[in-house]
Every structure is written in C-alpha cells, then in structure tokens.
C-alpha cells in the first residue's frame, strides 16, 4: 500500500468537514431547501395581509408600513438560528454518528463551530427568498432597515445559537426523548420578545424578564428605525452584549452536558 501522509489538520479543516457533511445532505434534497423557506413564507404572507388590513384601521401600524412583517422576519431569524443548529445536531443523533465524530480529532468547540456555521447557511438559504417575496407581495424591503439590520441579524442568530447549543447538550444527555424541546423551546420567548408589540405593554415583572433577553433590544431597536427613523445605539449595544453572553452560556451548557455524556458513555450509544 502506498503510504498515506496523515496530517494532523487544522481546526478550520475539521470545522469545514462538519459543514460539508451537512451541506451534502442539504443540497441533496430540494425538499429540505424548500422546507427552510416554507414556514417563514407562510407567516410572512399572513402577517403581510394582516398589516395591509390594519394599516387602514390602526395609526400605530399605519405610521410605519411593514413593521409587523419586519418583526415576523426578524423573529424567524432567531427561530432559524436555533432550529438550524438543533437540526444539524439532531442529524448526528438520528444517524448514530456521534461516536465516529468524537473518536476523531474533532474537538467539541469545533463541532459547535461547524453546526453554528451550518445554522447560518440554513438561515440565509431560508430567509433571503422570503425577504424577496415580501418585496414582491407587499412592497416591503427588510433591507430598508439599513446597516442596523446586520446587527439585528447577527444578534438574533447568536442568541439562537446559544439556545440551540444548550438544547443540543440536553438532548445529548437526556436522549431523543427530549427532542421536542429542540423544536419548541424558543417559542416560549415569543411573548416577552416584543416582536409585534412594544415591551412597555407587558406587566412590570415581565418587562424585567424581557430586558434580560436580547430580542427585546432588537425589536425595540427595529421599531425605532421603522417608526422614527432613529438608530438607537444603546439598544444595539445591549443586544450584542447580551447575545454574546447567552452564546457563551449556551456553549458552556453544551460542554458541561457533553462531558457528562462522556462520563455516562452516551456518545457511542445515542440514536434512534
């Protein structure tokens, strides 16, 4: 046999290997690609028509066309961020592949970076067509938010990744019986995120909870841009800072639960 030079490889190469693994699956099925845009498109159309109706009835909505559509689109950036990461993790569980992955030189942080990258790809693939649909159907361009959109997008993605990593750790530790959390967990945050209404309408104690989470800053910031054409930097800074904190906490939870799974021997036994 010809000798094969097995190099130790860089962390980046291992991260791209994991991305490649999920990219092969995504590109191999048009149904999966359509699925990424399906729910965002359905919701966008529903909220778009509701906005058109309310624009003639309510001054709040009328003063800033597209405020509900923008809220819906950005909320879906958060949902897709969490779900995109969780699905990549669940793919490994469903295929009973974790034993091979973690017997390789792939480190947990590289694994996390790989599924985070894949989540970003899934979100872009799913959301960009929907933003174009919003433009075509209702003449609303999310891109009119300008540069703050980039900050809103990454803030919500980072928060979604943090939640997704913590949930992935829980699924690893508790098994696929906990899979439902991966699909539903982020929706518990919807009432306190201020997606469709200002945080000020919440009772005081819920406002405290809302301001401890990044989405409240993003959606208040989004309304400030659309309604008042004002970029509130303090909201952007708060959102970015909190998202980084939650991402670090999410990765810490994942690592803690991963190490617990290593002690209990779950890496080579988990699966359907």
């Amino acid at each position: 046999m010809t000798a094969v030079e097995a190099q130790h490889g860089s962390a980046l190469r291992r991260v791209t290997a994991l991305v490649l693994r999920h990219w092969y699956i995504l590109r191999g099925s048009w149904l999966r690609i359509v699925e990424l845009a399906y729910w965002p498109a359905v919701q966008m159309v529903m909220w778009g028509f509701l906005s058109q109706f309310l624009a003639n009835q309510a001054s709040y909505v009328a003063q800033a066309a597209g405020i509900l559509i923008a809220g819906m689109l950005l909320w879906d950036v958060l949902v897709r961020g969490q779900l995109g990461l969780s699905i990549s993790f669940l793919e490994e569980m469903w295929s009973r592949n974790l034993g091979h992955l973690f017997a390789s030189p792939l480190r947990p942080i590289e694994f996390a970076a790989g599924i985070v990258t894949m989540s970003l790809i899934r979100t872009v693939v799913g959301m960009v067509p929907v933003t174009l649909l919003a433009l075509a159907f209702f003449g609303f361009s999310i891109y009119s938010l300008g540069w703050p959109l980039v900050a809103f997008f990454f803030t919500l993605q980072m928060f979604g990744w943090g939640v997704g990593l913590a949930i992935s750790g829980m699924v690893l530790r508790k098994g696929l019986g906990a899979e439902t959390f991966a699909w539903a967990a982020v929706f518990i945050l919807l009432p306190v995120s201020g997606v469709y209404y200002p945080i000020s309408v919440l009772p005081g104690w819920l406002q405290t909870i809302a301001w401890a989470l990044p989405p409240a800053y993003v959606f208040e910031g989004m309304r400030a841009v659309l309604a008042n054409h004002a970029v509130r930097l303090e909201l952007l800074a708060g959102a970015l800072l909190l998202s980084m904190v939650y991402l670090a906490i999410g990765f810490g939870c994942f690592l803690w639960l991963f190490n617990g799974a290593r002690r209990k021997g779950l890496l080579s036994t988990q699966g359907e």
Partner: protein, 255 residues
C-alpha cells in the same frame, strides 16, 4: 517493549455496576490483541475508554506514548475505529462519508486516498451510492474504509464481522490480516467470534464481568484449557466449567 497501547488499572463504574474492573494490559506496536468475552464482559466499554468516548472512573491509558485522559487530541489523528454500533450518515454516499472523515483526520491528497481504499476494499459502484442503501456487507466495507482513511497506527475494531454472512466475514478477516501485515498497524479487536480471534490475534485477553480472566496466545490458551478450539475455551469460561486459572497454570507448569 515499545507499547502502542498501555492500560493500567482501568476501572469504569456506572453507579453500583462495575463495567470494567482493574484492567491492565500492554499491546506492543504492530501486535494484534483480541478482547474476548460474552455480552457485557466490558469489551466495548474498554474500546470506548481507549478512544476517549468514555471517561474512566480510574486508571491510566497511554496510546503511542500519549496520556489519553489528558492529551487525547494529540493521538486521535493516528487512531481510528470500526464498530457496528456506531453508524455513518445514511443519506451521504460512501464517497461523501469518506471525504468528510478524511478531512476530519487531515488526510493529504484525499481523492487519491479514497480511490485507493475503494480499490482495496472493492467498493467500486458502491462508492457513489447512499450509505443507507448498502447491504450489511457493503456497509461494513465502507465503515472499514472510514476506519483506514487516515492509515491509523492504532486501529480499534469492535466486532468487525458482526451480522455478516460467513463469506463476507471471511473476506473481511482476510483483508484485516493482510492490512496488518502490510502496514504494521497495531490492532485491538473486540469480538465474541472465536474463528476470528484465532485467525487474527497474536494475543488474547479473556474478559468476564469486566475483569481479565486469562491472557495468552490462542494456541496457548487452548492448550492451557485442555481444549481443541477457542470456542471451547470460551464456553468453558462462560459456563464456569473451567478450572481456576491458578490450577490451569499448575497443570501447564507440570506439563
């Protein structure tokens, strides 16, 4: 002795259950060691600990001179695993699976390496079919290709011929024998298939309820137990028909 695998006083407890108890063994570089035992003997648990998939309760593991409990990432690029209990992604083709794992292991000139493995393992047309569409024998060959993609210095095989028909199992054993001879790789093989162990292993550890029951070359164990095959040795151990190891050693000394 230049050890590829050096295990000292390895123990794994799950609550009150002791899965592996005070396991100590050394595998010289280039040797093939068999871990032989029934279900629940601790073979797969031992392999998982050697790969860092499972944290031992106590003990030491050194592989290729590195402390696996502290520096496993230094040595994992030079190891690999084949196990029927850990799967590869079904929706990816065999080639895609090998491409992903080749990158994870940092294999140079990967397309050439995949072609080389496809030829050696007779993957041919299977290379571009989804892994989930392959037969058990074809899956085993692809899993073996994945295990060899980085030309590992230490190869861990957990029941490599489980659920294969006799013809395919024989082919896999012949391949492994040739591979070890050609590359000088160190192989640790967990199995409860006696012909496999007799054919492939230089040395065998008999495990029972997580402990070492006896150790020796297959021919020595057969002679020590006064039997004709490893299967009979295994049955003696499993059914408690054996004389104690001390007694057997006395008999051996007398002979």
């Amino acid at each position: 002795m230049d050890a590829a695998i050096d295990v000292r006083h390895l123990r794994k407890e799950y609550g009150k259950v002791v899965a592996v108890d005070d396991l100590t063994f050394v595998v010289p570089r280039g040797a093939v060691l068999g871990l032989l035992g029934g279900n629940g003997a601790g073979k797969s648990t031992t392999i998982s600990m050697l790969l860092g998939l499972l944290v031992p309760t106590s003990g030491e593991i050194r592989i290729l001179g590195e402390d696996m409990l502290r520096h496993r990432f230094r040595v994992l690029p030079r190891m690999n695993l084949s196990s029927p209990y850990v799967d590869l992604p079904h929706r990816l083709t065999a080639r895609q699976n090998l491409a992903v794992y080749g990158r994870l292991y940092g294999v140079a000139d990967l397309p050439r390496r995949i072609d080389q493995l496809a030829e050696q393992l007779d993957l041919g047309e299977q290379l571009d079919r989804p892994f989930g569409h392959l037969s058990s024998g074809q899956k085993t060959r692809v899993t073996l290709a994945k295990a060899l993609v980085n030309a590992p210095a230490v190869l861990l095989l957990d029941e490599p011929t489980a659920s294969l028909d006799p013809d395919t199992a024989d082919w896999v054993r012949a391949f492994l024998k040739n591979y070890q001879r050609d590359t000088g790789a160190t192989i640790l093989l967990a199995s409860h298939n006696m012909p496999e162990v007799e054919r492939l292993c230089d040395d065998v550890i008999l495990m029972q309820t997580g402990k070492v029951f006896d150790r020796g070359a297959p021919a020595d164990l057969i002679a020590r137990f006064g039997r004709d095959t490893m299967e009979e040795v295994f049955l003696d151990m499993a059914r408690g028909r054996q004389r104690s190891v001390e007694e057997l050693r006395k008999v051996e000394a007398a002979q």
